[in-house]
């Protein structure tokens, strides 16, 4: 029962790679966007906010299809990227990472935004009077104080990314070794007559990964919060 086959290993490692890359690439964008939403007022802000949350409420298959239209080989952005930069998303693991990044983005942004909103802006003013230019205020005060939220967002985003299924399979299909993540491997296995045990193994593994991520988030957040409040 606990003999993990090479195909399953491939799917597990691919899932981890896809989720880690998706989270790492999405985090700087998430921080920038969270800051924008928390701190700035501009025309179209609620529209942008709604757009960010779209993957949360749209059927994943719709998001996947829209990604295919946009980032597919003949898509508006995908075609350009493939031609000029040689970056191809369609039916590649990079596409899976893109789909996971997009799907987990709202979950990543939200805790970061909340933690930035919770920062006492008077501390930033104090930093400014001590000679810190705006970007240094951000780097030395805002960012470290938002760290618990950033970590929470990253772990939540990671957990979502590792379980993503609908958008990924729509966008990049289910190719073993390239785009077959744990979720799509389980999906394939439960459709094959004797795939039950293997599916069960992957189910257990994904539960362990998800719970592990949540525990890690809790521990990180608690440590970071303690650090911030002078313990």
């Amino acid at each position: 029962m606990f003999e993990i086959s090479p195909t399953e290993w491939t799917a597990i490692l691919l899932s981890l790679r896809v989720a880690i890359i998706a989270t790492l690439v999405a985090t700087p964008f998430g921080i920038a966007l969270a800051w924008l939403l928390a701190r700035r007022d501009f025309w179209g802000k609620s529209l942008l906010d709604a757009f960010v949350h779209l993957p949360l409420v749209l059927p994943p298959v719709v998001t996947g299809y829209l990604l295919l239209l946009t980032f597919g080989k003949r898509g508006l952005v995908g075609g350009w990227l493939a031609e000029h930069l040689g970056i191809v998303f369609a039916f590649r693991w990079t596409g899976a990472a893109l789909a996971c990044g997009v799907m987990s983005f709202p979950l990543l942004v939200r805790p970061i935004r909340l933690s930035i909103e919770a920062i006492d802006r008077r501390l930033e003013q104090a930093a400014e009077t001590l000679g810190a230019a705006p970007w240094r205020v951000f780097a030395t005060v805002t960012l470290p104080l938002a760290l618990p939220g950033i970590l929470a967002g990253m772990v939540l985003g990671f957990a979502k990314a590792i379980g993503e299924f609908g958008a990924t399979i729509t966008f990049v299909s289910n190719i073993p070794g390239e785009t077959q993540t744990i979720s799509s491997a389980i999906y394939s296995l439960i459709q094959t007559p004797d795939g039950d045990t293997a599916a069960a193994r992957l189910v257990i593994i994904s539960v362990v990964l998800a719970v592990g991520a949540l525990v890690a988030a809790e521990v990180f957040a608690r440590r970071a919060t303690a650090r911030l409040h002078g313990q």
Partner: protein, 223 residues
């Protein structure tokens, strides 16, 4: 030293203040709501005046007619807030060094030791602000502002959040600061007794206007 001639509309409230000060400690005196904090924030560069000029140490930092508004971080001022505002994620030592680092100043261990000794905060250096008493916090805030080597130190009711006992604990440090640190100060307070001990010059504010200006004796006549 410090020349202020500004006006600023803040909602229904109009602040229009004009004074020139050469004193070591200029006391900004007035009841709450008289515009003291807004005025000191304008001097700090945290608020931009609608009209007028501010000159610190011969440098024009605000001139609405010429479109000059030097942001707070380039004014080389120190600001001690009523609520200390120490950085909770940095220990006391790193709070003290923050201004030096941000201004790209070279380390000056002698100066640091002088300030640390002056304020008696040597035993607190490794602690986090969360573990300090209100009085200790305010002393660290004073040290932090001084160590950024400001040419003007702004203090906005630095004793305002402390109880009587703590006030008496901090006051001697402020007197020492005035006599030994050699940095001109603008000291905001609604407490005439406090200003009598510290200030060398008084600017009296009422409803956003300067109603009296002069030595500490204006405190007895005007208030």
């Amino acid at each position: 030293m410090l020349r202020v001639d500004i006006s600023k509309q803040l909602g229904e409230f109009t602040l229009a203040a004009s004074f020139e000060s050469e004193g070591r400690v200029t006391g900004l005196f007035g009841a709450s709501g008289s515009g003291k904090t807004s005025l000191i924030n304008i001097i700090a560069g945290l608020l931009r005046p609608d009209r007028g000029t501010i000159v610190i140490d011969g440098e024009t930092v605000d001139d609405s007619a010429a479109g000059i508004h030097i942001p707070a971080y380039r004014r080389r001022i120190g600001y001690v807030f009523q609520d200390a505002r120490l950085f909770p994620h940095l220990d006391v030592g790193r709070n003290l060094d923050y201004g030096r680092r941000m201004n790209g100043l070279t380390e000056d261990p002698a100066q640091r030791k002088r300030v640390v000794d002056l304020l008696d905060i040597g035993s607190l250096l490794d602690r986090r602000p969360g573990k300090l008493s209100g009085g200790e916090r305010q002393r660290v805030a004073l040290g932090r502002a001084l160590l950024s080597k400001p040419r003007l130190l702004l203090l906005d009711e630095p004793l305002g959040a402390l109880d009587e006992g703590r006030k008496l604990e901090i006051l001697p440090y402020l007197v020492r600061l005035r006599d030994e640190a050699g940095v001109p100060m603008v000291y905001v307070s609604h407490d005439a007794a406090e200003l009598r001990q510290l200030a060398t010059q008084i600017v009296m504010l009422r409803h956003g206007r300067v109603t009296a200006f002069g030595g500490v004796k204006v405190l007895t006549s005007g208030a």
